[in-house]
């Protein structure tokens, strides 16, 4: 190929791209975008999140869609956190797919697309990222995952309730780990507890021997285990291996963690989290659980649940705006509809309510791992700090 042919080919591609279709007012299909971690260092998040969302989409479509029109999920990949990839995906969703509603995940990508969300009035619902940086960056951005800081506060209160005084904490070096450590330190201070060790490790590390050895040397009463899956499991495995018998309170626990830690080591680990488990008084959760397990042969974790829930929220919003008529399929209208009644059915049971800062408030559950299964100990009331 010589230079000229190449340039000609390239410019014709651009022309093709520019000649996209004009926006339609009433869509044949409601396309919902999702910017997830489909490849890169942690593709498993993308796998479960997309599955959760797909279960919801299919369930809604099977029930006739929204007045006969179907939902469709269009997935973009942010390659485990690349902001450039997220922005590219966001632009593609807005311009090519022409969707006004996008599910996002991970804090970095979510912050990165916030300016576009604000400028183009795109409704964004994040069910994975937990950083405080995502608060207040776009009026069209919402979060149906409890903030990590709220969960951390709950975990520390739980430790206090059980009478512990010396706490040691371990976290990954991520926006998640950082915000959690800051929050728990503050709560511990308020409750008069002593933080005797704070250890962090590289976000993708599998070797955390050094950190765990330092935890043990600090001789704490309790270990607060902040990492997300799968390192939460890895920490428990190492802590038990090195002979520490102290109680452990985690913030996240999925099947992956039980697998990594082993069933025996996992026994007795407490988890302070957005609780997702099917129950008789929670038909939405039960429905989701059954369908997910049938399809994928494994139990859904709370990430899958959050994205199932997110799609349900968007479907509810579309129904609300459609009822009012006009140019209803826009981010601004969806946002407006959300504020009309910020309480939604939660897949966790009961209602969740979006607060002024855009974060849904859910009750926090204290669970206990028992032979690989999560058993509910008690609920802590939803509490905004």
């Amino acid at each position: 190929m010589d230079r000229r042919t190449f340039l000609r080919a390239a410019s014709s591609l651009v022309v093709v791209g520019l000649a996209g279709a004009a926006p339609a007012q009433e869509p044949d299909v409601y396309r919902i975008g999702a910017i997830l971690s489909m490849s890169g260092a942690t593709p498993h998040y993308g796998t479960v999140m997309s599955r959760g969302a797909l279960v919801a989409v299919d369930e809604i479509n099977a029930a006739g869609g929204i007045d006969g029109r179907k939902l469709e999920l269009v997935i973009e990949d942010h390659k485990s956190g690349s902001t450039q990839a997220a922005v590219a995906g966001m632009n593609r969703l807005i311009n090519v797919v022409k969707t006004p509603a996008v599910l996002s995940s991970f804090s970095g990508p979510t912050v990165a697309i916030a300016p576009i969300s604000k400028e183009k009035q795109v409704f964004v619902l994040n069910g994975g990222g937990v950083s405080l940086k995502m608060i207040g960056v776009s009026p069209y951005m919402f979060h149906n995952r409890s903030l990590a800081t709220d969960l951390a506060a709950a975990a520390v209160r739980r430790a206090k309730d059980r009478g512990f005084k010396r706490i040691a904490q371990i976290a990954g070096r991520s926006e998640f780990g950082d915000s959690v450590i800051a929050a728990s330190q503050e709560v511990a201070k308020k409750l008069g507890m002593e933080v005797v060790a704070t250890e962090q490790f590289a976000a993708d590390a599998t070797n955390i021997d050094t950190q765990v050895a330092k935890l043990r040397a600090a001789k704490p009463d309790v270990v607060l285990n902040w990492p997300t899956t799968p390192q939460a499991g890895l920490v428990v495995k190492r802590v038990r291996e090195i002979g520490m018998e102290q109680p452990i309170i985690s913030m996240e626990w999925t099947n992956e963690d039980t697998k990594l830690a082993g069933v025996a080591s996992s026994n007795g680990v407490e988890v302070a989290t957005d609780y997702f488990a099917p129950a008789a008084d929670n038909p939405m959760g039960q429905r989701f659980y059954d369908e997910y397990k049938k399809r994928y042969g494994e139990e859904p974790d709370f990430y899958a649940a959050n994205y199932y829930e997110a799609v349900q929220v968007i479907a509810t919003l579309i129904r609300r705006t459609k009822a009012k008529g006009g140019d209803f399929w826009t981010g601004a209208r969806l946002t407006e509809a959300l504020w009309e009644d910020p309480a939604f059915d939660s897949v966790y049971g009961g209602k969740m309510t979006f607060q002024k800062n855009g974060v849904a408030l859910k009750r926090v559950a204290i669970l206990k791992v028992d032979e690989g299964a999560l058993k509910l100990e008690r609920f802590l009331p939803a509490q905004a700090d």
């Binding site: 230079r3 791209g17 489909m38 390659k79 485990s80 450039q84 311009n95 970095g108 926006e175 915000s179």
Partner: protein, 563 residues
């Protein structure tokens, strides 16, 4: 169509990265893996200075460029001194450390959360908040970087880089400081990456460590390989293709859950296939550019006789009692050798006698274990080869070491001493003076080629020469250094009688001008014809020294040598 504009903005940013990385990878032939780290440093410097210190955009950009260049140079220095694969592992470690520091130096970099709220750029009172408006700036900057890098690539500096890539020892032998060349190329490349980083920061208005992983470096590398190693346009085209490709791949119907994994796998596969079947890339390196007519017209006849040293027979380069041990092996065991101006000295001796070692010791390619080398009585101790050339001593190699992927003319052109354009700042600050001098040098190079009978071949690749022509080119390259002392390692072996008749007079004429010539040779007839004196080396020392006929009458030597 913000989407298309966004894709084009990314094409511009990656084009900047690919073009600048190509200076290191393609031109200098250095293999590094830290380009994303420099991209990151540029982005973060801008982000920190503009958000935390309120520095205006332009000074912040300049700081980013300078800082990145300096960090690049310092980090790579230890590896550049050694060369080879060490640079790969050091730059890989640098990449990891930089991302680690961005994650951990919370106060400065915002930690894993990154830095948000980076101000948007304004151009002529217009805020560049949409991809479309930003594209104008991005394209302009990409064009600017292309232009600057093009100037570098086609300057004497760029030529020296390519010569170094082709053969590091030969580049040293014609006076190029290879460590400095590598360092400047590396710093230039890093600094250009910082420009892309800074643009990215202002475009997305948010930076976080995850955006600058090693995968970014590999992506840029793939762009270069695909487009064409050493070809700047190719790098830009590679960027366009690899930014557009994933977008086009989205048109492929793939299973939802694994679509992006499959796309990545496809990308890896494509990389392998390109390397396997078209390793030179879509646009192979162009080095056979046309010779300017003005240079052709200006070329006259080489005025060799104008170069005449008045004194003949004066000692120039001398080695006294040179010793060299490699482990247990003694390669030089007290070599004493004095070369004189206007005299052709022949070096003979059996294989392994230490002839080439003597050359290496005299020209600084080896440091003697003991002994001393001097030029006109001044010691040359501890000088690196390129410094020795500047003392007017040049050598050729037995294995020729031509710059293969360069033209015949360029082989000669690179060897001229004291070129203005060898210094990068002259290339940018005095472009016209550099150009004028280069054209004058081209004319001179043509004269040199004419002198050895290779003028017709000037615009061809050195790859295409016959063996005899290669030998002639070696001599032409040596001549171009304009050195007073010329050491030739077997310049005549393997030549047919016709070519010999062509070369021998050249050697004699050079000596008659007053140059000091020393050559290693096995053919005794040739020695008799061309040499004034001969040194017989064996066992790492000079055993006999005298007129060729005298040495050849010594039955003991003849016996040893014939055996």
């Amino acid at each position: 169509m913000d989407y298309v504009y966004h894709v084009l903005v990314m094409v511009c940013l990656y084009a900047i990265l690919a073009i600048s990385f190509n200076v290191v990878i393609g031109l200098a032939g250095l293999f590094a893996l830290s380009h994303a780290a420099f991209y990151a440093i540029g982005a973060y410097t801008t982000a920190i200075l503009t958000t935390q210190y309120g520095v205006p955009v332009l000074p912040a950009l300049v700081c980013g460029i300078v800082l990145t260049g300096v960090i690049g140079a310092i980090a790579a220095l230890p590896a550049l001194r050694i060369g080879g694969h060490y640079l790969v592992v050091v730059t890989l470690a640098l990449q990891i450390i930089v991302i680690d520091v961005l994650r951990n130096a919370q106060g400065l970099t915002g930690g894993p959360d990154g830095i948000s709220g980076i101000p948007r750029l304004t151009l002529f009172g217009q805020t560049l908040s949409t991809p479309g408006s930003f594209l104008v700036l991005a394209a302009a900057v990409a064009a600017f970087v292309y232009l600057i890098t093009h100037m570098l690539a086609f300057s004497p500096f760029g030529r020296a880089l390519r010569a170094m890539r082709e053969d590091e020892l030969a580049a040293q032998s014609i006076g190029k400081n290879v460590v400095a060349l590598k360092l400047i190329a590396f710093a230039f490349s890093a600094a250009s990456a910082a420009i892309a980083g800074s643009l990215l920061a202002h475009y997305i208005t948010f930076v976080s460590p995850q955006s600058f992983s090693i995968d970014e470096t590999i992506l840029v590398l793939a762009m270069i390989i695909l487009g064409g190693t050493g070809n700047l346009f190719g790098a830009a085209a590679g960027a366009a293709i690899l930014v557009a490709l994933p977008e086009l791949l989205k048109l492929m119907a793939l299973p939802v859950g694994t679509a992006d994994l499959l796309r990545n796998a496809f990308y890896g596969l494509m990389l392998i296939l390109i390397l396997r079947f078209r390793p030179e890339g879509i646009f192979p390196e162009r080095y056979r550019y046309r010779l300017p007519e003005s240079a052709k017209r200006a070329a006259g006849v080489l005025e060799v006789d104008a170069w005449t040293r008045p004194v003949r027979g004066e000692v120039t380069l001398a080695g006294n009692d040179l010793h060299k041990n490699f482990g247990g092996i003694v390669a030089a065991n007290g070599v004493d050798l004095e070369l004189r101006s206007g005299i052709v000295t022949g070096l003979i001796g059996p294989n392994g006698a230490g002839k080439t070692t003597a050359f290496n010791l005299l020209t600084g390619f080896l440091t003697p274990t003991a002994g001393r080398v001097s030029m006109r009585g001044l010691p040359l101790a501890d000088r690196r080869p390129h410094r020795i050339v500047r003392s007017s001593i040049a050598r050729s190699f037995q294995d020729l070491r031509l710059f293969k992927r360069m033209t015949v003319l360029e082989n000669v052109l690179t060897a001229f001493p004291d070129q203005l354009g060898d210094r990068l700042w002259n290339v940018f600050l005095r472009p016209f003076a550099v150009r004028a001098q280069d054209h004058a040098n081209m004319a001179r190079a043509l004269e040199v080629l004419d002198f050895v009978g290779l003028r017709d071949r000037a615009e061809q690749s050195a790859d295409n020469l016959s063996y005899a022509e290669e030998k002639l080119l070696v001599i032409a390259r040596l001549l171009a250094t304009d050195a007073e002392v010329l050491l030739l390692d077997e310049p005549l072996s393997g030549l047919d009688p016709t070519t010999l008749d062509q070369v021998l007079p050249i050697v004699r004429r050079l000596a008659e001008q007053g140059r000091t010539i020393c050559l290693i040779e096995h053919n005794l007839d040739v020695i008799r014809e061309v040499c004034d004196v001969t040194a017989y080396l064996d066992g790492g020392k000079v055993l006999a020294f005298g007129k060729p006929e005298e040495l050849m009458r010594d039955p003991k030597l003849v016996e040893r040598y014939i055996q």
